[in-house]
């Protein structure tokens, strides 16, 4: 029995969420190519230097907020119901939150579109960080708020399913996939609180004219309270795949279930009190505060380093089960021709590389060398743009047949797609890092200045621009391959062929029975998280609001 036969209603929900995610990555990817062509000066005929910022906003929102969030709520809906072997409590509620998320997305996207399309009376060229006092139309903020509130509904749905299961299985350990999904959604509740307060209490009423001023430093601090934890909201679903499905795809099984739980608990606890490392260059925040949050930032390396161990160990175990031998020779025994495997393996490789870049970004003083340069988007195109996005695409090849009952089609195209993505990203991201080191700023439509000569080491600026554009085009071709496979599979006949994948996931080598039960008690971990947050964010926020919530205040300046 496949998933779609066991849970037809839930499968429909997951398919819908994934379809919206894929529409966003398709659209966002096309916009990304336009940006690469514009910035590097290869083609500036299609739109103006000012329109660039609306396009950049749309690219950021579609990729970082819409694609990720929709894929994640779909993936987790599958993981929770599969691992608990129970449906969601009430699908009307499920469709309700999915509808709310969709409405919010449309509202926010149309608001951004208004910056380019004359007859839409909105503007939102504020980028996906929307720093006040640059102001977007109220519909943009409202759309983002609905997207977030809708995603809270997803979290509630998973927790309700867990509680129903708990009532029937009082003494059992929480299945690993559900444990991970719930831990991630708890992290999401905690961190989105910051951006929800920013949007609902400050920016939305301010853009409607209900309050005259907001404090730019306070609102951006609330944004960054959310802004780094959100990357773990993207990353943990990729880890969910790496821990629970990838070992099986390698031919073996997970190394250690208890350590996987420890890793997710560490992320839940540590991932929010780190946001100030995005504000090292900000005035009005003390160096002491920045130092404290730098320390927690470096400690959050630990769960990622543990994950690196598990992923490689599980791969090696799988390879040896498949007959691989030798110190490194086992690598040849892995199923590199299967895109679900190769995509995740390449995603892991990209993540290892970007981890080192992240250590540079996190350094209190070293950060000044790269802050707000092209290095930073170079970094996150490796993390969220490859480690996360390529994992999501790869697992789609494995998941979609189970969600639809249809065999994957265009399998040759699927087999080359992850490699195309990886090579394209190596070129593009490498070039972005290097022009960033030369000082080229990010978020700028035409980064050429008569006062500044950028000194690029080794390669010329022209060569690096060629790498950027060439990489971007390869990425886009890879994206088209992915979408072709998905659409073609979707249009196929159900039951015409056996789906050729099994959703069975083998037990871990070391099972949950070896780990302390307290790991499964989320109340303890949420309490600890809140305590750390109080220590990390209590004093600076208290200091900022001491002279009033809205002072020093700025009136809106339409973007």
């Amino acid at each position: 029995m496949t998933y779609v036969d066991d849970f037809p209603g839930e499968a429909r929900v997951v398919r819908t969420a994934l379809a919206i995610a894929f529409a966003s990555i398709g659209l966002g990817g096309a916009l990304g190519v336009l940006q690469a062509l514009y910035r590097t000066g290869y083609d500036r005929s299609l739109f103006s230097a000012v329109d660039y910022y609306s396009i950049l906003t749309a690219h950021g929102v579609l990729m970082a907020l819409v694609f990720t969030t929709f894929f994640i709520v779909g993936l987790f809906a599958w993981g929770v119901t599969r691992s608990l072997d129970t449906g969601l409590r009430d699908l009307r509620f499920t469709w309700g939150w999915l509808g709310l998320m969709t409405l919010g997305t449309v509202l926010a996207f149309v608001s951004v579109l208004g910056g380019i399309v004359g007859w839409i009376p909105t503007h939102a060229a504020v980028l996906y960080t929307f720093y006040a006092p640059l102001e977007a139309s109220p519909t943009f903020y409202l759309g983002l708020a609905l997207l977030i509130v809708g995603s809270w509904g997803a979290g509630v749905d998973y927790v309700l399913a867990l509680r129903d299961w708990r009532a029937d299985n009082p003494d059992e350990r929480i299945p690993l996939q559900t444990f991970m999904a719930v831990a991630t959604m708890l992290l999401w509740f905690v961190c989105t609180l910051g951006v929800a307060v920013e949007v609902v209490v400050f920016l939305l009423p301010w853009s409607l004219g209900l309050i005259p001023r907001v404090d730019p430093l306070l609102t951006r601090t609330l944004f960054w309270y959310f802004g780094h934890a959100v990357v773990y909201f993207w990353l943990l679903p990729a880890y969910f795949v790496w821990y629970t499905i990838f070992p099986k795809l390698s031919g073996g099984r997970l190394f250690s279930d208890p350590l996987a739980r420890v890793v997710f608990v560490l992320f839940l606890v540590l991932s929010t009190p780190v946001g100030v490392h995005h504000q090292y260059g900000d005035p009005g925040l003390s160096q002491g505060l920045k130092f404290v949050q730098m320390t927690s930032t470096y400690f959050i390396l630990l769960p990622s380093l543990l994950t690196a161990f598990t992923v490689v160990a599980s791969m090696e175990h799988g390879a040896r089960q498949r007959g691989g031998e030798g110190r490194f020779g086992w690598l040849r025994a892995l199923p590199w021709e299967k895109p679900s495997f190769s995509g995740i393996a390449l995603a892991g490789l990209a993540f290892a590389a970007s981890g080192f870049g992240g250590m540079v970004n996190a350094g209190l003083n070293v950060n000044a060398l790269v802050h707000n340069t092209m290095w930073v988007p170079g970094h996150f195109h490796l993390t969220v743009g490859t480690a996360v996005a390529l994992t999501f695409m790869a697992i789609t090849y494995w998941l979609l047949p189970q969600l639809s009952g249809k065999r994957l089609r265009l399998r040759t195209l699927a087999a080359v797609q992850p490699y195309l993505w990886f090579v394209g990203m190596v070129f593009m991201s490498n070039a972005m890092h290097r022009v960033g080191l030369a000082g080229v700023p990010r978020r700028t439509s035409e980064p050429q200045y008569e006062q500044v000569l950028f000194n690029t080491p080794i390669a010329t600026m022209g060569e690096l621009h060629l790498q950027t554009v060439g990489g971007a085009l390869l990425l886009f071709v890879s994206l088209l391959c992915f979408l072709a496979v998905v659409v073609s599979t979707w249009l196929g006949d159900r039951g015409a062929e056996p789906i050729a994948v099994s959703g069975h996931i083998p037990e871990a080598l070391s099972g949950p029975e070896h780990s302390p039960r307290i790991l499964d008690d989320f109340r303890v971990w949420v309490a600890l998280t809140l305590l750390l947050l109080l220590i990390a964010y209590g004093p600076p926020l208290a200091a900022m609001v001491q002279n009033g919530l809205f002072a020093p205040g700025s009136a809106p300046i339409p973007a």
Binding site: L305, N365, S445
Partner: protein
């Protein structure tokens, strides 16, 4: 809880690595004196800069070896910096104060560690010392609106004796030294070596 021997070693190595990273930063801050932007404790009304140090932007000596430059970053120029270069003395402690009357901007002196945000209502303080005469570009690296891509300026380091010591004049010296200094720009930028000013707050 059972943990594999290799995994225990890996955890230990990871922890040592993390502590070493933090230690390297501590050494940079405490040992070499390279910190980042801090809190000056001073907030201001973005609409009332006329009552602050930013009323008349520009540079002035505070004593024999300390030069202060007040810069206003606004849509879409640095005052001074864009229409006239910021002139600062070499081998002298230089402190920049930067603020914004409108939106969030960036203040990045390309090729140096002077790289900070400029936020309405706050003052950004950067202290440094330039080793030798040289010309630098300044870029606004935070998106600030439709003209963002054009927001840039110039910083020119000249020998200290070329900046008149009329401490009282907060304004004026940047423009009066302009003519003589711009001749040095050509000389300064011809030098290949890169000065690496240190930021401390």
């Amino acid at each position: 809880m059972e943990i594999h021997r290799l995994e225990k070693i890996w955890i230990a190595v990871s922890l040592v690595f993390i502590v070493a990273l933090i230690a390297s930063i501590v050494y940079g801050v405490a040992g070499i004196g390279v910190g980042t932007i801090g809190d000056t404790g001073q907030q201001l009304d973005p609409n009332g800069l006329e009552d602050t140090r930013f009323a008349d932007p520009g540079g002035h000596w505070v004593d024999d070896d300390h030069y202060v430059v007040n810069v206003v970053a606004r849509q879409f120029l640095f005052q001074p910096g864009t229409q006239e270069p910021i002139m600062v003395p070499a081998n002298t402690t230089v402190t920049f104060y930067v603020t914004s009357p409108d939106v969030v901007h960036g203040f990045d002196v390309v090729g140096t560690q002077l790289n900070a945000m400029v936020i309405p209502g706050q003052e950004t303080k950067l202290t440094t010392e330039f080793d030798e005469p040289k010309s630098y570009g300044i870029i606004c690296h935070e998106y600030c609106g439709a003209g963002h891509q054009s927001m840039a300026g110039q910083l020119v380091v000249v020998p200290a004796d070329e900046i008149p010591k009329n401490a009282s004049a907060a304004s004026g010296n940047a423009t009066t030294t302009n003519a003589s200094a711009s001749a040095d720009v050509a000389n300064a930028s011809a030098q290949a070596s890169v000065a690496t000013p240190e930021v401390s707050a």
